[in-house]
Structure formats: C-alpha cells, structure tokens
Symmetry: C2
Subunit: 128 residues, 2 copies
C-alpha cells in the first residue's frame, strides 16, 4: 500500500534509552493496524530522532499529510511553549505539508476514562 500519510508519536525522551520502550510498543501496535500510515517515534530531547528530523524524513519520503501525537500526560511548558515553536519551524521548512497536532493523552476523555478504570481495577480488594 502506498503511504502518503504519516503519524509521529512525539515523546519527551530521557537519558535512559529503556524509557522509550512503551512508546515503541504503542508505535508498533498502531503500525500493525494501519499499513497505510507511516508511523514514527520522535523526541523532544535526549533521544533521537528529534521532531523536526522525523518530519523531514517523512516529507522526503513523500508523505504530505502528517499528524503529530504528543505522548505527554498533560499540557505543560513543553506542549504550550516548545511545540508551537517546533511546528512553526516545521511549517517554514515544509510549506506544502498538511500538519496537524493531536491532543495530549490527558486531554482525551476516553484515555482519562481508561486510566481511571484501570486504577479502579488495580486498587480493588485493598480496602480493609
């Protein structure tokens, strides 16, 4: 299948390479369901590729519609300040690119639901 669209899972990154394992697993799960989509992992810092490089690679490979999914729990300084600057930089480099930013994990009601449901389950039976 020709892939013309891409999804970049954008995580913070950490000095410890193992930190990225859950994100690699999520990327694999999404890619397994969406053969039509190029799925890539990118980082804000400490790990590579950084966001701008991941996007450039996708654009060079012919993807002209890219969504960025910030795998952050909530909208802090990184999403409010760093990401708009990165997006402006990406748009300046690739003016024809159709670029969209998805909400953070904690801003998705069904994911808050899933986390709450898991917590209810994980704490069942602990009452004395």
């Amino acid at each position: 299948m020709t892939q013309t669209s891409g999804l970049v899972l954008f995580a913070h990154g950490a000095r410890d390479a193992e930190w990225a394992e859950p994100f690699r697993d999520i990327a694999k799960r999404v890619a397994a369901s969406r053969a039509d989509l190029a799925v890539k992992l990118a980082f804000l810092e400490f790990q590579s590729p950084v966001l701008t490089d991941a996007i450039s690679e996708l654009v060079d490979a012919g993807h002209h519609h890219i969504r960025i999914a910030p795998l952050f729990m909530a909208q802090g300084g990184h999403l409010k300040n760093d990401v708009p600057k990165l997006l402006a930089d990406i748009r300046a480099r690739h003016p024809a690119l159709n670029l969209e930013l998805l909400p953070a994990i904690g801003d998705v009601a069904e994911l808050r639901d899933a986390i709450a449901a898991w917590l209810v389950k994980a704490t069942s039976g602990i009452s004395a």
Copy 2:
C-alpha cells in the same frame, strides 16, 4: 463508609497549575467509583502537596494501606531514582504503613492498548 485505604495519584507537577487538570479529573473519576478509598493527588515538584505530605495526611487520617499510582508515561529518572528515595523516606516515617507502588501508565499493557486504539481512531481517514 469507613476509608482505611488510600490511593495517591502521583504526577510530575508543572509551573502551570492548569497542567494538573487531567489528573484532577482522573482522581475525581476514581473517587466516584470507589467510595471506600481515599483518593489524593500528589506531585514530585512545582505543585503541592508533594508525595510525602500527601501520604502523611492519609496516615494521620487513619489510612494504613496506601497505593501510589505514578501518572508518568514511562519509567525515567524520576521513577527509577527519585521515587525509590521518596518511598524509603516514607517507610522510615511510617513503619507500620502498607505501601505499594503501581506501574507507570506506559507499563500497563491495557493502557498502551487504549492509547494505540485511540491513535488508530484519531488518524482514520487521513490517508490520501
């Protein structure tokens, strides 16, 4: 209902108070399902209460079984280095306390599934 058990949702914290909104919402959802459980939100930094203070409040209120749920995407330096030190400190202060640490969000297979499923849905129809 008498609450003798507690659940502390432990988040990183940020300078921007709004950052904690998703966590407050998750705490509210869990509390709504578990009247038998004292549910509290605590932070590593920038916001209060910090973890040790939240635990002390629960212990002072008579809770002797407390679970801590780290609302972090993955196990980085905070969970690998900071949290063990905090737990050691809490155990030293409250030797009779039954304290358990739940896995990080990204270490729970069903939550990785939920995130992947949401991403598949959020990107449907973007292929050219």
